[in-house]
Symmetry: C2
């Protein structure tokens, strides 16, 4: 049994327009690094967090909370040290907390000799999400641990489906540097929705799943339309409507808010159009002097992995 591991934990995009709290996918090559090593004193210790100022208290940091949930399930007293290199700031909408939770449970599971399957790790990583937003949502941690495109069919009992990923599905992302807390973004939503609107939404969820199976890129784009969450959350994102419209004008299949925002993502067929849209979205924030970072990625087939 090795006593140290380095992992790469991808960023993820949840909701995917229509699929609030159920759909999500992993990014390819965008994410964070974590080093985890066993320690003999039975403690969980966060030694270092590079990149952003996050709490090191193991009772507060989502990585150690998630790792503790795994250890509790095994009734294990094993201790671990964690060092993280975070590349994307918290509150981005790109599943940075999920990256930490999923990275931690994956690493600890590896060091313990893999007592749990990736699907089982999802439920431990969800405890990290719960600590952060009061809701044990799985739409980020599932693609984070399993890779690809996932659907949380059911929360109780937890059931996550892996969906096919069309080979030319690219993602252009822009992240204006405005923090949106998932808790706040969730509280903004209305507790009730019109039945007729819910019907439109689940028609689209069905359409998006069908589009993934059929590699029907335009169907994927049409199905992303979100009648429930986007109209409310977009208010927090400067220039949202314009950025989305420009992305569609430039040939994006569809465009929506990444997770609870403020990042915006556009699905594109092929790398060339995705590159063009990424640059366009970036320039729209440059124009108004809002600091923004932009990314280009395929849907990542791999989840968190050893590096």
């Amino acid at each position: 049994m090795s006593n140290k591991i380095n992992v790469f934990s991808p960023s993820t995009i949840a909701n995917v327009g229509c699929g609030y709290d159920v759909l999500g996918f992993a990014l390819d090559g965008i994410g964070e690094y974590m080093e985890v090593s066993s320690r003999s004193d039975g403690e969980l210790v966060i030694e270092k967090i590079e990149g952003f100022d996050l709490p090191k208290d193991p009772k507060v940091n989502v990585a150690t909370i998630a790792a503790q949930a795994l250890l509790d399930a095994l009734d294990s007293q094993q201790g671990f040290s964690f060092s993280m290199k975070k590349n994307i700031n918290p509150g981005s909408g790109l599943g940075t907390s999920a990256s930490s939770s999923a990275g931690a449970v994956f690493a600890v599971n590896e060091l313990l000799g893999k007592p749990f399957s990736p699907m089982e790790l999802v439920s431990f990583a969800m405890q990290g999400e719960k600590a952060l937003s009061n809701v044990a949502h799985a739409d980020n941690v599932a693609p984070n641990l399993l890779g690809g495109f996932t659907l949380v069919r059911s929360y109780i009992p937890l059931e996550v489906l892996q969906l096919p990923v069309p080979k030319d599905l690219y993602v252009a992302i822009v992240h204006p540097q405005i923090e949106v807390k998932t808790t706040d973004a969730k509280q903004m939503l209305k507790k009730q929705v019109d039945l007729g609107v819910a019907v439109q939404q689940w028609g689209n969820v069905g359409g998006l799943v069908s589009g993934l199976y059929e590699s029907d890129y335009n169907l994927i784009g049409r199905s992303m339309e979100d009648f429930i969450v986007e109209p409310i959350r977009k208010i927090l994102i400067p220039r949202y409507d314009e950025v989305k419209q420009e992305a569609l004008n430039e040939g994006a299949l569809g465009c929506s808010i990444a997770g609870s925002g403020p990042s915006i993502f556009a699905f594109c067929e092929g790398e060339e159009v995705a590159e063009k849209i990424k640059n366009k979205m970036q320039s729209m924030y440059d124009e108004i002097g809002v600091l923004a970072y932009s990314y280009l990625s395929k849907v990542g087939l791999e989840g968190v992995k050893k590096v």
Copy 2:
């Protein structure tokens, strides 16, 4: 151009548990017959309706209303006579009004030399549904005209997807002879639903679509669970909970209300278990002296057709 046609228009089951107003499928060999012939006086006339007492006024009968919608789109003054043989009484939940609307537009389209595609016919048949329930829903007429399993991804604009049909997917149906009007069944539903409940529902819609693509029979069954419509509509159906539980005990994949009821259907893997469940459901109404008819069917791959 022929001036007379006989068609068979299948019965259909809409909603399919989780997919209120969007999912539906055709039955195989269960449905109604219609004879349509051209007439030279420009009138739409219902000459005969065998089986059940339905209005012959062409402004009221859904078949002629739907046919008129098609003729209006062509600006055609052609007249037609309709004779119908209905095998299932109205208010069954098995899409009997859709069978009439879809049968009529299919027949008229054939006699006019097929100016419209089956997908276009869906929108005309929806006008028959609208006349009956004030809502132009497509979840019955779509599988009726297209066959198989369909998803109404969007109503405006209308977009219907055809989903794969696993080869051993059978349906056991029991129809207790209590009329439930679609209008009444729709009015019972709450206008608003909890967001959390809607999330569960669209998780299931996604799961059901995935189950059809994967031919994963158990996933199809699990995904049928309906948190919104069934709890309210089942009140109108005597012994609903018991019948459902017995069907599940006997090995049904899932069990729910057909359309707006009172028919109950169970999905089964294979004919043998479906036959057993059909008989069980029948016997449960026989026991309490409620007249009921029961049916066994595959998911029908064919929609309305010439006979």
